[in-house]
């Protein structure tokens, strides 16, 4: 079907104001890797055919039915903050379906039964703001908390630093209303029931399906009372091994721990750069500085016993019998706003490093496959040591920070996008993944598979498991219209291998 006919039909369904074929709406804007490759190679372009902003479920059904009949790809898109190329258009005439403009309403808040019903375009921070007024929150907080939307969080089973304590998005999705690839509408799970084992757990199947199985139109989320008391600590040892020891000690303590983060010196540099900027701008009123030491941990304690917990942690981590002369420098942050700044700075430590340098003159990108690996928590220290050795061998110095208790580490390295570097990136990520898999780990703990990681999935799960995933995809979307060629369940595009992409500019 030609572009003009598709456009006419989409306008017929949504109206002219909600369909765009303007290139500014269609180019890839949320993916650093795509941006880098586009700049390096002339023929590479991740561009959709249409942007539609549906107003309701009925319009979505109409679009999907039409697309299914004519085998036109659809990518459901929320806030466009995914980090693995989930919403990058790969095929001609792709329809980008964006929920931010219209489908952004909180439809129901039920405090008595602790659930909310939202549309996919509701922003996470907005939902938190609304819930906080009644002393509630949606606990699955990802790193993109400032910008992500619930639809994307559910589509990617988003989680973050505090997930070891509060769980991931999946733990809070009670049910879904989903428009299937043939335009039919199904409801999964239960809005009000707390327990049910009736039938297959379809909710779990859809959570984290990255837009490949269906389009969510309503999401039923579990909510929880907001923890009232909290205190944050910066604990800095001179020696990294002592930080590792401290982690083991905290594991044994009976305290309500909401966050425990290991931050390396580069992370600290990024955090401090952001503190400095905020202080200069008057956004931060009191100076915060993380000491630049090898063994630095950030800790957040919550709950009614938080003062007692604070005492226990301070005492245990400063035990001279264990830490001898390397007693830690401990800063306690009690004011809520100060604590917020600390965790904000931790969220954005990676990009914060850029504040101390000149803007790069050539494109850059993260190394995608090492960005959010996880190993069994008991193996985390072994992984960190081995990964450091490989990084040194390659001359790559990633910022290393991690959610220690769930074994999830981010190796963040911004690399120049040059042909030579792409080959190095490819080899480096394969070597790191060899360690990850040898320790029984996973390629992605948080960010998802998307486009850039799908070729590793078979190694993680084996052919048979991948075949089941593909069968599920084929059964639910036989015409392969929903976010095609992502997540390892379609045809894997050769571009993910970062080599022999084609002629350079």
């Amino acid at each position: 079907m030609d572009k003009e006919e598709i456009y006419k039909k989409l306008v017929e369904i949504c109206g002219e104001d909600d369909v765009s074929i303007d290139d500014a709406d269609l180019i890839a804007t949320g993916d650093w890797i795509a941006k880098g490759l586009e700049a390096l190679y002339d023929h590479i372009s991740f561009k959709a055919g249409f942007l539609v902003t549906p107003k309701n479920k009925e319009e979505i059904i109409e679009i999907v039915k039409f697309a299914n009949t004519h085998k036109i790809p659809i990518i459901p898109r929320a806030a466009n903050t995914s980090l693995a190329g989930q919403v990058l258009p790969l095929k001609e005439n792709t329809i980008l379906m964006d929920f931010g403009k219209h489908m952004n309403k909180i439809l129901e808040i039920n405090l008595e039964e602790e659930y909310v019903v939202v549309e996919p375009g509701v922003e996470f921070w907005y939902l938190q703001e609304v819930l906080a007024k009644d002393g509630y929150f949606f606990p699955a907080e990802p790193g993109s908390a400032f910008s992500c939307m619930i639809g994307g969080m559910v589509g990617n089973n988003a989680s973050g630093a505090s997930s070891f304590r509060f769980g991931t998005t999946r733990d809070y999705v009670k049910g879904l209303e989903v428009v299937m690839a043939d335009g039919s509408v199904i409801h999964t799970g239960h809005k009000k029931n707390e327990k049910s084992v009736a039938g297959y757990d379809l909710t779990s199947l859809f959570v984290g399906s990255e837009g490949t199985l269906g389009i969510f139109t309503e999401i039923y989320l579990r909510i929880k009372p907001l923890p009232k008391n909290e205190v944050s600590l910066i604990v800095a040892y001179k020696n990294l091994d002592n930080a590792y020891k401290a982690i083991e000690i905290i594991r044994q303590l009976d305290v309500d721990l909401a966050l425990l983060e290991y931050v390396d010196q580069m992370t600290i540099e990024g955090m401090n750069a952001n503190f400095k900027y905020r202080l200069k701008k008057g956004i931060l009123t009191k100076k915060i500085k993380v000491p630049k030491r090898d063994g630095t941990l950030l800790i957040r304690l919550i709950g009614p016993q938080f003062k007692e917990a604070l005492r226990k942690v301070q005492e245990a981590l400063s035990n001279p019998e264990i830490f001898s002369t390397d007693l830690p420098k401990i800063q306690v942050l009690e004011e809520p706003l100060e604590q917020k700044h600390l965790w904000d700075a931790r969220h954005y430590a990676g990009p914060g490093i850029a504040r101390n340098m000149d803007p790069p003159k050539i494109p850059r990108m993260f190394i995608p496959a090492v960005l959010d690996i996880a190993v069994p928590p008991s193996k985390i220290i072994e992984f960190l040591k081995k990964a450091k050795a490989i990084s040194q061998e390659f001359g790559i110095l990633p910022i290393t920070m991690g959610h220690i208790f769930d074994g999830n580490v981010h190796l963040i390295s911004a690399q120049n996008v040059t042909e030579e570097n792409l080959a190095k990136i490819k080899e480096y990520q394969e070597k790191i993944l060899d360690i990850v898999y040898s320790l029984g780990g996973t390629i992605t703990a948080e960010h998802g598979v998307g486009l850039w990681k799908q070729h590793f999935l078979e190694k993680e799960y084996g052919k048979e498991t991948m075949e089941i995933m593909k069968k599920i995809k084929r059964a639910l979307d036989p015409n392969n219209i929903l976010n095609p060629d992502k997540m390892g369940v379609g045809e894997i595009p050769s571009i993910v291998h970062f080599k022999e992409i084609g002629d350079k500019k």
Binding site: S20, D22, D23, A24, D25, I27, T29, G30, D31, W32, K35, G36, E38, A39, S45, T53, A79, N80, T81, D98, G100, K101, N104, G121, E123, W125, S144, F146, S147, C148, N274, Y277, R278, K281, G282, I283, H347, Y348, G350, P351, G352, A354, R355, P359, P360, K361, I362, P363, R364, F366, A414
Partner: protein
């Protein structure tokens, strides 16, 4: 094509943090209006990967240049420099909005933004002629630079009128350039342009100030203030003037005890920090000193304050081309203020006053008041 169009393109890792507070994006929640996409579009234009489209122009020229995105950006992307460079490029390509082009031409031809005759620049003072007749072009160390908006727009005359009346009460001597005051040139700077013609205008204003022996320049308009403070200082590194916003001098007078508010004003108010004065210049305290000196007045401070304060939507020349976007922003912001209990919004900027006035058209029980007029009424 300026390199600033691409300078931050590779620095921006497109995380989208800028979306949460972007003044324009919040009104329509469309990705294309987010700062990260503006930066992406600029880079794509530079790389010749994108043609000039309707949406590109819309998103580049609708930016209010409030700079909240730069506070939020963890990498330090200078979104405003990128947008100004892109605006310049689009204007040079003949793709600038007609309304902007007219305004720019008017500055060169008529020395003001309104295509009016500059000899009428003292229209604002018709009702207080006796107070200013011996001030025009007289020698003084202090000059009041009135600015185009307040000189020609009737609804804003009360701002300089009030300041002049306060100066008279306190006995402060000052001078006015009268019809020799030319537009400060700010609209050009908002378009990233500083050419010979604008420099001629800057040179004229500087010379006229020097001729009158001026040492301090006071503006009530934060746009003019920023132009003098940044662009004029870049143009003439030896600029021999101290630049002050009117609230700074009034706050000093209060601190020195020369100005004292006796009357009560029992209202809950929110102060609208003007972007050019607060976020871009760091002047937060002066207007608060004034407001806190008023007996009975309750000043509400929001969680988003000072450098993170809301923008009214009246800046960046968005309003010239996209008045509906500017008005939407003002309505959104006024509603937020009302929800926080404000009965009145106090402004210290003609653009904030003007735009918020439009924004509250359909909101009941909230009004807008200029800080100078309020102060005068209570003396």
């Amino acid at each position: 094509m300026s390199e600033n169009m691409i300078k931050y393109y590779y620095l921006c890792n497109v995380c989208g943090t800028c979306r949460q507070q972007c003044t324009v994006f919040r009104t329509n929640l469309l990705e294309v209006f987010s700062p990260r996409t503006r930066v992406t579009l600029a880079g794509n234009l530079y790389l010749n990967k994108l043609g000039i489209t309707k949406k590109t122009k819309e998103t580049i020229f609708s930016c209010v240049l409030c700079g909240i995105c730069e506070n939020a950006c963890p990498s330090g992307v200078k979104v405003l420099d990128t947008i100004k460079a892109t605006r310049k490029y689009l204007i040079e390509q003949g793709e600038g909005p007609e309304a902007i082009q007219k305004l720019l031409d008017s500055i060169i031809e008529e020395k003001n933004i309104f295509l009016l005759e500059n000899e009428d620049r003292m229209s604002w003072a018709e009702d207080i002629e006796d107070k200013i007749k011996d001030k025009i072009k007289k020698q003084s160390e202090l000059a009041l630079f009135v600015g185009c908006q307040e000189s020609f727009k009737g609804s804003l005359y009360n701002i300089p009128e009030s300041l002049v009346s306060i100066f008279e009460k306190v006995g402060i001597d000052f001078t006015l350039l009268g019809d020799e005051e030319w537009c400060c040139g700010a609209p050009y700077f908002l378009m990233g342009i500083r050419n010979e013609k604008v420099e001629e205008i800057m040179r004229h204003n500087i010379e006229k100030m020097k001729e009158l022996g001026v040492k301090k320049i006071i503006t009530t308009c934060p746009g003019c203030y920023l132009a003098w403070k940044e662009e004029y200082k870049k143009f003439d590194k030896e600029l021999p003037f101290e630049i002050l916003h009117s609230t700074e001098i009034l706050a000093d007078l209060i601190k020195e005890g020369k100005l004292k508010v006796e009357k009560e004003y029992k209202k809950k108010v929110i102060f609208q920090d003007p972007c050019d004065l607060a976020r871009h210049s760091g002047v937060f305290e002066a207007p608060r000193i004034i407001l806190k000196s008023i007996p009975g007045l309750e000043l509400i401070e929001l969680e988003r304050e000072k450098a993170d304060a809301y923008c009214c939507g009246g800046g960046g020349l968005c309003k010239a081309t996209y008045p509906e976007i500017a008005k939407d922003i003002a309505t959104t912001v006024a509603n937020i203020y009302k929800d926080h209990g404000a009965e009145e919004i106090i402004t210290a900027c003609p653009a904030c006053f003007d735009n918020l006035m439009l924004g509250i058209e359909k909101i009941e029980n909230i009004n807008i008041q200029d800080i100078h007029s309020l102060l005068l009424a209570l003396l």
